[in-house]
């Protein structure tokens, strides 16, 4: 199967601080991948590079065999770790915005989901709670039939009961022939959905394995994570 993500010899530094060092990743199409690691390990930097938000890096990064650019942005649905929609917008404005720019956006489904999650389509985003804003951002991303979904800490600001609901929302709504890359440090909640896990520490990729490989020894992803990062908890 062709690779949706190809990263070769990727290096990214901020001044003298190396954030990602010689990262090599190949992710086949149709995978659900967990990007795991403690805070500050370079997860968000890697996702921002894939989304086209960070440009001054060394190495090769390709999505669907294209270098990062307009073509890759057409097929990538990116969810940042916090709301990024302008406060003056209403959900209906945001939906119109996405419908205008993304050919793969399902407007009817988005309106249905906004109602389904009890969001007021006419409420200004700046007056919504943090949780409501995050739900809206997730709806906008999941209503695209993207080839690759990149979700940065989608469960970060949620209470445990909401996490399960949001995970179900992700798994029930992403286009099934697509790939999903989820960054998180809440492994317990999400390990059931992963096909593959990547573990990053200090800018280096320490684990890049299929979940079945990891579980061969009867361990959960969480247990493997604790072995790889014994001092982070």
């Amino acid at each position: 199967m062709a690779d949706i993500i190809t990263v070769a010899s990727l290096k990214k530094s901020y001044g003298n601080h190396v954030v990602l060092d010689n990262i090599n990743i190949k992710i086949p199409q149709g995978s659900v991948v967990g990007l795991l690691g403690p805070n500050g390990c370079g997860k968000t930097t890697l996702l921002k590079i894939l989304a086209g938000l960070i440009k001054d890096y060394e190495g090769t990064v390709k999505i669907n065999n294209d270098p990062i650019g307009v073509e890759t942005k057409e097929i990538v649905a990116f969810l940042p770790d916090a709301s990024y929609l302008p406060g003056w917008m209403k959900p209906t404005d945001a939906i119109e915005y996405f419908a205008d720019f993304y050919k793969d956006f399902d407007k009817a489904k988005a309106l249905e989901m906004v109602n389904g999650f009890n969001l007021n389509p006419k409420q200004k985003i700046k007056t919504m709670s943090k949780g409501q804003q995050e739900k809206l951002c997730l709806i906008l991303v999941l209503c695209r039939k993207a080839k690759l979904y990149i979700l940065d800490e989608p469960l970060g600001g949620l209470d445990p009961s909401s996490r399960a609901a949001v995970l179900d929302m992700i798994m029930n709504n992403y286009a099934k022939d697509s790939s999903v890359l989820i960054s998180t440090h809440l492994i317990n909640d999400v390990e059931r959905i992963f096909d593959r896990v990547l573990m990053i520490k200090g800018g280096q990729l320490l684990v890049n394995s299929h979940v079945n490989e990891l579980k061969k020894h009867g361990k959960s992803v969480q247990e493997v994570f604790l072995e790889v990062f014994p001092y982070v908890w």
Binding site: Y14, G15, K48, A51, G52, L53, I54, K55, D56, V70, E71, K73, E74, V76, F78, P80, A82, S83, Y84, L85, P86, W88, Y97, D100, F101, Y102
Partner: protein
């Protein structure tokens, strides 16, 4: 896609400009009412707020262009803007065009109330049978119709260059101030870069003036472009304008916009 960028840029920026333009419209109505009522006291009272509103409309418009550019590219909203499947150059051109549009609208809004003052003055002159006399007086200082067209074109083009120049300085300064090297103090560096680019442009204009000083002269007979100094010109010259500075401004503006596009496309990291 470019049309959609323009549509959303216009929609996004309208909220900055709408309220201040509304104030200007209210001021215009107030001025209109005072003129209809022929109330000298009301009109005198309205003049100062009118001048303040005119200044505020233009200042708010210019500041909004800086704020909007920063917010949509370099703040959290940059996640929305910079992940759109559009080229950086398309994004930049759409922003330049809409900024152009709002500056022109704000100038119109700022000067609209004064149109009523002019209409009122004309009415008074009409009443005193002085209009014809005044028109004759003014036109006696102007050259032929063909030259008047040239003068109008000159002022329209130079005004557009000045607007383009302001927008390009702002976009370039904000962009460079948000590169990794300077983004700890973006306001300070943005201001310094704006100032630096303005001074540099002036210096280049001065330099070219010494080599080939092109002027636009408005004479009693005609308006024309010339490389001669004003005292070398024949006939009565009403005024001359330095053309070099406008040419340099236009060239610098284009260079700065290209540089801004390059930096946005290749060097800017969204925080």
């Amino acid at each position: 896609m470019f049309g959609k960028l323009l549509k959303h840029e216009l929609r996004h920026t309208a909220r900055y400009h709408f309220s201040i333009i509304l104030v200007s419209v209210i001021a215009t109505i107030f001025m209109g009412v005072s003129l209809v009522m022929e109330s000298e006291a009301l009109m005198s009272m309205a003049m100062l707020p009118l001048i303040l509103v005119a200044a505020a409309v233009i200042i708010v418009s210019l500041v909004s262009i800086i704020k909007n550019f920063y917010e949509t590219i370099f703040s959290r909203q940059g996640y929305l803007t910079m992940t759109l499947p559009v080229k950086g150059s398309q994004l930049l051109i759409s922003k330049v065009l809409i900024s152009f549009f709002w500056i022109i609208v704000s100038y119109i809004a700022a000067f609209l109330p004064f149109v009523f003052v002019l209409i009122h003055l004309k009415k008074q002159l009409d009443a005193d049978n002085m209009t014809d006399q005044l028109v004759q007086e003014i036109t006696s200082y102007l050259p032929s119709t063909g030259s008047i067209v040239l003068i109008v074109i000159f002022f329209v083009v130079t005004s557009l260059i000045s607007i383009l120049s302001y927008v390009s300085y702002v976009y370039f300064s904000v962009t460079i101030a948000n590169t990794r090297l300077l983004n700890k103090h973006p306001k300070l560096f943005g201001g310094l870069i704006f100032l630096g680019v303005s001074i540099l442009t002036d210096k280049i204009s001065d330099f070219t003036l010494n080599i080939a000083p092109l002027s636009f002269a408005i004479g009693e007979e005609k308006a024309f472009f010339t490389f001669k100094d004003v005292w070398e010109l024949e006939g009565v010259i009403i005024n001359t304008f330095d053309v070099n500075s406008y040419i340099i401004e236009a060239v610098v503006a284009v260079v700065l916009l290209l540089a801004t596009g390059y930096f946005i496309e290749n060097k800017i990291n969204i925080k």
